[in-house]
């Protein structure tokens, strides 16, 4: 319990990841499904950002001319988080585009209903 309080960022990240994961798997509304995916991704970034930060230190931008390593945090995790955010933005944009196309064909966002309509369509063809 003490560890949990100490690492509350990580604990929050794990809880968020669980929420996102369950949404991705259990929601039948496609938009909510992808919101779940986004929460999941955000949880990973929170985790990585929290792991990469040391309390009391600042980003490694040298202004006064003196570079003391002990004052700065490692910039790589933040860089990774930024890259990850870009990736997840493009995945989200792509999936939303797909959902719009799907809505134009089947006029619903509900995955179960869409699957039912698609199966009927398939039966008609074969």
């Amino acid at each position: 319990m003490e560890h949990l309080m100490h690492n509350y960022y990580e604990a929050a990240a794990v809880i968020l990841f669980g929420i996102g994961f369950m949404n991705l798997l259990l929601q039948s509304n496609l938009i909510k499904k992808f919101i779940g995916l986004n929460i999941m991704d955000t949880a990973v970034y929170l985790f990585l950002a929290a792991k990469g930060f040391i309390y009391g230190r600042v980003a490694p931008i040298v202004t006064s001319g003196e570079a003391v390593i002990e004052r700065f945090v490692n910039p790589v995790p933040s860089g990774l988080v930024l890259t990850g955010i870009v990736v997840s933005v493009s995945v989200t944009a792509f999936s939303l585009a797909l959902i719009i196309r799907l809505y134009k064909v089947y006029h619903t966002f509900d995955m179960d209903e869409i699957m039912k309509l698609a199966r009927e369509e398939e039966k008609r063809e074969y």
Binding site: F17, I99, I114, Y126
Partner: protein, 498 residues
């Protein structure tokens, strides 16, 4: 001086493919996009061949610093005989698949979107090369995501409702896989402090020996392997494949099944050898897990394929079974097992692209119906595709002289790690070969049997398609008959990798 020049080839290959994607966006015509793609795959094939000859002759593997930043900070590529061989074979297969399936691409992809289809093909090609060559785990993640998005776009290229559903399904499963992989990487960076594979390995061996961070290390291993197993459609995670392949173009399906899935498996191989090292893998008993899932996949994939009535879905389930073979080879755990798996990566890539392209042509001949019953007599009307399909099917079953036989032979040889393992591997191989025969032979009989009534071919095969069929069959025979030099290159590559 000349050697230094050749060391740039991996970077050139990736850069060319990515540049091709960007240039294609500027073209105004699908035909030009196709020519550009063919040109790029051929150039990359030639570059990879030069690289392969060079590194095998020198018996060396090298790392290439991107932007000349030294090891712990910069980004690196790594190439050796194994990587060069994979890149060479994949680029040849890419060229043949796109060339062989071009008519269907131009007729079935939403018109005026054909050039975008080729952008995606170029991006897939670039990311496959990057996954083969990269030495940096985070670069691997970024290219996995590029690969995922491009693959989904290829799946939905036909633009009708079911292909979009298949694409969404593919996207959800893939995002799940890459999400798990990303958390694995975060934890890995957390406990080692490095992103380059050799540096991580150094730290992991120290951690494993000292027993520190034992639990996080196990979790990392689990996350990375489960993530990549989902991406490469190992048995319980295969659900996105059948619909995706059934609803995409044959060339697209061939590339997705033959090459894209393999690129993730090559990444697993790199993780085993270069990140975790065999020592850590053996200590964590990951091999046993891969072995069991591989065996189950071999059998279950075949059983599903057996129940399927549509040819492309059947081929998709057969891919699941073949992926099972590769994971079984990883699970055997000795060098012979890894060698057999690497050979099977090549054999299955060559055979599955052949099967999809020829099946696509048979479907065209019969007017677009994809049921196995509807293909009755298609081989008589379109003999080139029929013969090519039969060669592919026999190779999948594992008849001698074909590519599939050589890999199954090596799987059987490699399982020498104890009586239990040997008996399990041999039984699984036998059962799976019988199942393969049960579902492939009826399709071959069906395409050669006399059709009911008089039917006319709906489309004549083009000259380029005939050339592609001959080339595919030659590759299959080369892999099936002259496999010893290829095995030697793979063994050399694995030695340099470990």
């Amino acid at each position: 001086m000349s050697i230094n020049w050749i060391h740039n080839f991996p970077f050139f290959s990736i850069f060319l493919a990515m540049l091709g994607g960007i240039l294609t966006a500027l073209l105004n015509d699908g035909k030009k996009a196709l020519r550009l793609n063919q040109l790029i795959t051929l150039i990359v094939a030639i570059l990879s061949l030069c690289l392969l000859l060079n590194v095998t002759a020198n018996n060396e593997s090298f790392t290439f610093m991107m932007g000349h930043f030294p090891a712990p900070w910069g980004n690196e590529l790594r190439a050796g005989p194994l990587e060069a061989l994979m890149a060479f074979v994949f680029s040849i297969l890419m060229f043949l698949t796109v060339t062989g399936g071009q008519r269907e691409i131009f007729s079935d992809v939403v018109s005026d979107k054909v050039k975008y289809f080729f952008i995606m093909i170029n991006l897939i090609f670039g990311s496959i090369l990057a996954l083969i060559y990269t030495n940096d785990v985070f670069t691997a993640y970024v290219f996995i995501e590029i690969n995922t998005i491009a693959s989904c776009a290829v799946v939905m290229a036909k633009g009708h409702g079911r292909s979009i559903i298949a694409s969404i399904h593919y996207l959800i499963m893939s995002s799940l896989g890459s999400g798990l992989f990303l958390i694995g990487l975060c934890l890995l960076y957390d406990i080692t402090g490095h992103l380059l594979m050799p540096n991580i390995q150094e730290q992991l061996i120290l951690l494993s020996r000292s027993g520190e961070y034992a639990l996080p290390l196990t979790v990392v291993c689990g996350l990375v392997f489960i993530g990549l197993a989902i991406k490469s459609a190992l048995f319980p995670f295969h659900t996105m494949l059948p619909n995706a392949y059934d609803n995409s173009t044959s060339a697209g399906a061939g590339i997705l099944s033959g090459l894209v899935l393999k690129s993730y498996i090559i990444l697993i191989l790199k993780f085993i050898f270069q990140v975790f090292s065999l020592e850590v893998i053996q200590a964590l008993k990951i091999e046993n897990v891969l072995f069991v899932f591989g065996i189950v996949g071999m059998i279950m994939g075949s059983i599903y394929a057996f129940r399927e009535v549509r040819i492309k879905k059947m081929l998709a389930y057969s891919s699941v079974a073949q992926i099972g073979y590769i994971f079984m080879g990883f699970g055997i755990g000795n060098m012979a097992g890894f060698t057999a798996s690497c050979f099977h990566i090549l054999a299955h890539a060559a055979t599955k692209t052949l099967l999809f392209v020829s099946a696509g042509s048979l479907i065209e001949t019969n007017g677009g119906k994809t049921g196995i019953r509807d293909l009755q007599g298609a081989g008589r009307l379109n003999p080139f595709a029929g013969v090519a399909y039969s060669v592919g099917a026999l190779s999948m079953v594992g008849i001698p002289l074909f590519a599939g036989f050589a890999s199954k032979y090596y799987f059987a040889l490699s399982a020498a790690g104890g009586k239990l393992q040997l008996s399990i591997v041999l039984t699984a191989l036998a059962v799976s070969m019988i199942l393969n025969a049960i579902y492939f032979i009826p399709t071959v009989i069906s395409i050669w049997s006399k059709p009911e009534g008089e039917i006319k071919p709906k489309a004549e095969p083009t000259f380029s398609f005939k050339c592609v069929c001959v080339a595919f069959m030659m590759i299959n025979f080369i892999l099936g008959i002259f496999f010893q030099p290829i095995i030697a290159v793979i063994e050399q590559g694995l030695r340099l990798l470990g």
